[in-house]
Amino acid sequence: MDYSLDLGAVTRNFGPLLEGLWVTIQLTLAANVIGLVLGFVIALLVMSRVALIRVPATAFVEFFRCTPAIVQIVWFFYCVPMLFNIYLGSMTMGIVALGLNLAAFNGEAYRAAIQSVPREHRDAAVALGLSPLQSTLHIILPTAFRLAIPVLLTNGIVIFQQSALVAIVAVPDLMYEAKSLATKTYRPIETFTIVALVYFAVSFPISQLVGWLERRRSVAMA
């Protein structure tokens, strides 16, 4: 191979990469806020006894789970402005698209967790005369949230990685900066390797944390 490695090409251009990483982190955090809140609401809607509520909510979840994230993002960027005549700025669009995707996946995580909240807890809430809203907020949500944490965290990391897709619609995230740096400097090996390591350095500690939480739980359950 007559290609000599030159890490300088990347280290001299660390500024744009750091800005890109910051955009990626903002996208991830904001999408997670939407995903955590909206996901819980969706889980409740999916479990509703009223078919008129349950069916659209289920369709939402299945649709986001059964189509590629890249299709959702491109669809969002091209079609929402045309259909509804609104344009929100590429950052906001990216956040909403990723957030809705995450909400569908988190909805399933919450649903599994809510279904494993012991029946007795709900009976106790009724016996104490709590209103449905009170028992949802004070009994079901805290327990379900705790049970769902490992899956919610895993989904959060997945969205961190999926956020690289917004580079395709020209949001200047880490992936986008990597692509333009690789093109500008003709240093694809150095750039893509270092950027891959940056992604890894963020997601690996969180996935280790998930593993630790799960081991701790299985010990606590035993």
């Binding site: 649709f63 189509t67 890249i70 990391i157 897709l165 992936m175 990597a178 690789a182």
Partner: protein, 221 residues
């Protein structure tokens, strides 16, 4: 604006061509990636520390980075390193195989864990060589238990394969986006593409649930 979905039908052939590439990629890579994933799962349970460490790093790395950057790496860096031109189909297959291997190895790892210790002891008692032990005792059981998750992995791969459109492979996503750009009809075309992906993936997710129930009942019996 006025929507005219009949435009989708005019491009049915092109979309079918794209879908066919997507399906071929998915099928090839689930087989090659699954095979590599099984070997990786064995390596992760090996007594050899070097083998265990290397396979763990591999799996964590491919699970911890975006598939998009893995694709870019294979497309732009691998030809420079190897010094040979790779066709885009070959590059796509390599990238998705490596990624799928990391995902399926986790599936196999948990299903290998359910093959009980006694069965391995029995193999030793019968004097079976290690290779026969793997191919005739461990693999069939691990494969059966891993089936529903493997099918889920296949559905994920079917969706993830749409990323190859970003490096210019004419899969379903690429064809759809291309037509939508050229006809200025993104709403109709992109919606159609999303619905096609959905129409393939959704029935498969239902099949996974059915299969899961069957296998659980079979194993319980």
């Amino acid at each position: 604006m006025e929507l005219d979905f009949s435009i989708v039908l005019r491009f049915a052939d092109a979309l079918a061509y794209g879908l066919w590439l997507t399906i071929r990629l998915t099928l090839i890579c689930i087989i090659t990636g699954g095979a590599l994933g099984f070997l990786l799962a064995l390596a992760r349970r090996s007594k050899n520390r070097l083998l265990r460490g290397a396979s763990t790093v591999y799996v964590e790395f491919f699970r911890g980075t975006p598939v998009l950057i893995q694709l870019f790496w294979i497309f732009f860096c691998l030809p420079i390193i190897l010094g040979v031109e790779l066709s885009s189909f070959v590059s796509g297959v390599i990238a998705l195989t490596l990624y799928t291997a990391a995902i399926t190895s986790e599936t196999f790892r948990s299903s290998l864990g359910t093959v009980s210790r006694e069965q391995i002891d029995a193999c030793v008692a019968l004097g079976l060589p290690a290779r026969v032990q793997v191919t005739s005792v461990v693999l069939p059981q691990a494969l059966l238990r891993a089936m529903p998750t493997l099918l889920s992995n296949t559905i994920s791969l079917f969706k993830e394969s749409s990323l190859v459109s970003a490096v210019g492979m004419a899969d379903l996503m690429f064809v759809g986006q291309n037509i939508s750009n050229n006809t200025a009809r993104p709403v109709e075309m992109l919606t159609a593409v999303a619905l096609i992906y959905f129409a393939v993936a959704f029935p498969l997710t239902r099949a996974v649930s059915v299969l899961e129930g069957r296998i659980l009942r079979k194993l319980a019996a």
